[in-house]
């Protein structure tokens, strides 16, 4: 029946090779953009201009020196961070796009490859792509600085560069969690961005209304907003170890959700998936804090936020609004949902707010001057 088997069964290497091959052109595109943003930009600026600019703006120098940047490198580094952000979204989406098409899932799930290998192969291909992008850019930038006789500048900068690389991988691993959970690519991107925005915005508001300081270096603020960690290190020190720990954590989570993901999720809006209500409290929290702060600012700005009844009215109204918006945007049909099921995330979000406010007040020192 079967022809003689002379080759070995395809495994992790096969999946890695095929995934890497598919994202090769995008990888080269982002490599080019990186080169444009750093070494080519440096060449355009020129050695003399670079040295002049680096030595002249003293008022900025101490801040950037701490972050291993200088007056020329920090805007270029910011560009790299922006490109990294886009690269994560584009490459991760390209690597996992077949998750969201039923016919593609039919094909891939029926292939003679286990789900572990399929996930690992793709994830390693993404890792290899980013390693390539960062390595090529680093090599060319090194060559530029070496040519200028300023290798010390490169080595000083390399600390910031490595932090950016770690933050990029952290964001990538975080994105993989939502790519594994979601039923459509649109929902994966929306939920990933939404959660980060909801978390960071809510925490900022809570810090503001409780008049607390934030220690950005080790703050849990960025745990659910890894995109911010691409940019924060430009101004303030952020622990690279936190990035490394979170890379491992999110990667394991993503793998776990990938293993558990049923094939029938493909093409289904997130609002119709059973896990979605677990995430809705984040959006309830966002809606509540945003509207509560807004209303408080409009009508009772002179009062302390947490003692203002107007704030709490806005908080509840905002919580309801956050729940409705997150339900509608996720593809869940409002008229078909049961009221009881919608109330739970609202209560969850409000409880979340209470817990976070309590934790912040207990664990953080008040600011010397009110925000």
């Amino acid at each position: 029946m079967m022809t003689a088997i002379t080759q070995t069964a395809p495994g992790l290497g096969w999946v890695f090779g095929k995934s890497f091959q598919r994202m090769r052109s995008l990888m080269l595109l982002f490599s080019f953009l990186f080169l444009l943003a750093m070494p080519i930009a440096l060449l355009i600026i020129g050695r003399d201009n670079y040295l002049t600019l680096v030595s002249s703006y003293n008022f900025l120098e101490p801040v950037f020196r701490e972050q291993n940047l200088n007056q020329v490198l920090w805007p270029l580094h910011l560009l790299l961070a922006l490109i990294s952000l886009v690269a994560v979204a584009v490459l991760a989406s390209a690597g996992f796009r077949t998750f969201y098409l039923q016919n593609a899932v039919d094909r891939e799930s029926s292939m003679p490859l286990g789900s572990n290998r399929q996930f690992l192969g793709r994830a390693l291909a993404l890792l290899a792509a980013f390693c390539f992008i960062f390595a090529v850019n680093a090599a060319v930038t090194f060559a530029v600085f070496a040519g200028w006789g300023k290798i010390a500048h490169f080595f000083t900068y390399s600390t910031a560069y490595l932090r950016l690389f770690a933050a990029t991988l952290e964001l990538l691993a975080f994105s993989l969690v939502f790519l594994a959970l979601s039923g459509t690519l649109f929902d994966a991107v929306l939920t990933c961005v939404g959660i980060q925005f909801a978390w960071a915005s809510s925490v900022f508001h809570i810090l503001g209304m409780t008049n607390r300081l934030t220690d950005l270096e080790t703050d849990i603020l960025w745990l659910l907003a890894p995109a911010a960690r691409l940019f924060i290190p430009i101004l303030l020190p952020v622990s690279a170890w936190q990035s490394l720990v979170m890379i491992v954590f999110w990667s394991i989570m993503a793998w776990f959700f990938y293993k558990k993901r049923p094939a029938e999720y493909a093409g289904v809006r997130n609002g119709q998936l059973p896990w979605y209500p677990v995430l809705q409290p984040f959006f309830v929290l966002l809606g509540g804090t945003l509207l509560g702060s807004f209303v408080h600012g409009l009508f009772a700005g002179e009062q302390s936020t947490l003692r203002s009844p107007v704030f709490y009215m806005g908080l509840v109204a905002g919580a309801l609004l956050g729940q409705v918006v997150s339900t509608v945007v996720s593809g869940k049909q409002l008229r078909k949902t049961k009221i009881a099921k919608e109330i739970l995330p609202i209560l969850g979000g409000l409880t979340f707010f209470a817990l976070m406010t309590g934790l912040v007040c207990l664990c953080m020192a008040p600011a010397a001057t009110p925000w």
Binding site: M1, M2, T3, I5, Q7, A9, P10, W14, K18, T98, L101, Q102, N103, A104, V105, D106, R107, S109, S110, M111, P112, L113, G114, S115, P262, A263, E264
Partner: protein, 314 residues
């Protein structure tokens, strides 16, 4: 070394077994405790209307879906997450997906993935199917894409081929070609084909066995020849009045008895020889055996189970 008989016996053994298989999508029971076995080297037709559970059954057989309950076994092993089993199974869904944009690239892709890939068979099939190896797959018609998917699947030399609405969108010539190709693969390479369709007529000259799915349950599994031979439709005319009870007294299992003037139309569960023998004793003026389509057989079989067949079949 196994003898030819032993090999044939092994090939004919149950290649696919559904054991109290259920698949639920939330509150919807797409399949509910389905149990059946499919013999090797045969063509099994899975019939059912939209939403009956045919595609779900095929996806469970291909290892795409994980069963909610029960098991789907390929040669005695669970299919789901079984890479070894999937080396021998090919699934062609109703909307094929191609990782690459030409047949040539897809053939290279499949060759690297499937250990049983047969390049000679691929080239042989390419000569039969009217497809250009370097034509863009995404610009082909639905029917041609389906042909391409079937071609690639057969060239992987599977033991089990799962086809979801394979003939949909194919022209009559291509349908016949495909049936001929599959029949040859079954005969020469002991391929087993499981084909899902809404259309009984499409499968009746092609399948060895048929099963009828309805609302997630398997109502009916039968060998096609046995099914056809088990029911006979006769048109007769007699010099004297003949009633249904006359025939029943003579031992015939009458399913339907209709009179149109002097003509009598009888549907009986009997062999042709038996019914001839019984009716000849009544000295008929006219005695014709009428052709019976598979659909009519189904109608009568299922009417015994009180199902309205118009609800079940397309």
């Amino acid at each position: 070394m196994a003898s030819e008989t032993e090999i044939q016996t092994e090939e004919k053994a149950q290649i696919l077994t559904a054991d109290r298989l259920s698949k639920h999508f939330g509150p919807v029971k797409a399949l509910d405790r389905v149990s059946c076995s499919i013999e090797g080297s045969s063509i099994f037709g899975l019939i059912g209307s939209n939403g009956a559970g045919k595609s779900t059954f095929l996806r469970l057989a291909a290892g795409v879906y994980k069963p909610t309950a029960g098991r789907m076994l390929y040669r005695g092993q669970i299919v789901y997450e079984n890479a070894r089993a999937k080396q021998e199974i090919q699934f062609v869904s109703d909307q094929p997906f191609f990782h690459f944009d030409t047949l040539y690239k897809m053939s290279k892709f499949n060759r690297s993935l499937y250990l049983g890939w047969d390049q000679a068979l691929y080239e042989e099939l390419l000569a039969i199917f009217p497809l250009g190896e370097n034509d863009r797959l995404d610009r082909m018609s639905r029917g041609m894409q389906r042909q391409a998917a079937v071609l690639l699947a057969i060239a992987c030399n599977p033991s089990l081929l799962l086809l979801d609405e394979a003939f949909d969108g194919l022209d009559p010539v291509m349908r016949q070609n495909l049936k001929r190709i599959l029949a040859r693969q079954v005969a020469d390479r002991h391929l087993t084909v499981l084909i899902a369709s809404q259309n009984l007529r499409e499968l009746e000259d092609f399948c060895d066995h048929v099963g009828l799915l309805h609302q997630g349950g398997l109502l009916f599994v039968e060998e096609l020849d046995k099914l056809r031979l088990s029911i006979v439709k006769i048109q007769a005319a007699f010099p004297q009045p003949v009633t249904e009870s006359h025939l029943r007294e003579r031992g015939l299992d009458i399913l339907q008895f209709r009179t149109r003037g002097s003509l009598i139309e009888i549907l009986a569960r009997s062999s042709e020889e038996e019914i001839h023998r019984v009716l000849e004793e009544l000295h008929p003026l006219l005695l014709d055996v009428l052709p019976l389509s598979l659909e009519e057989v189904f109608i009568y079989e299922l009417s015994l189970k009180s199902y309205a067949v118009s609800d079940l079949l397309a």
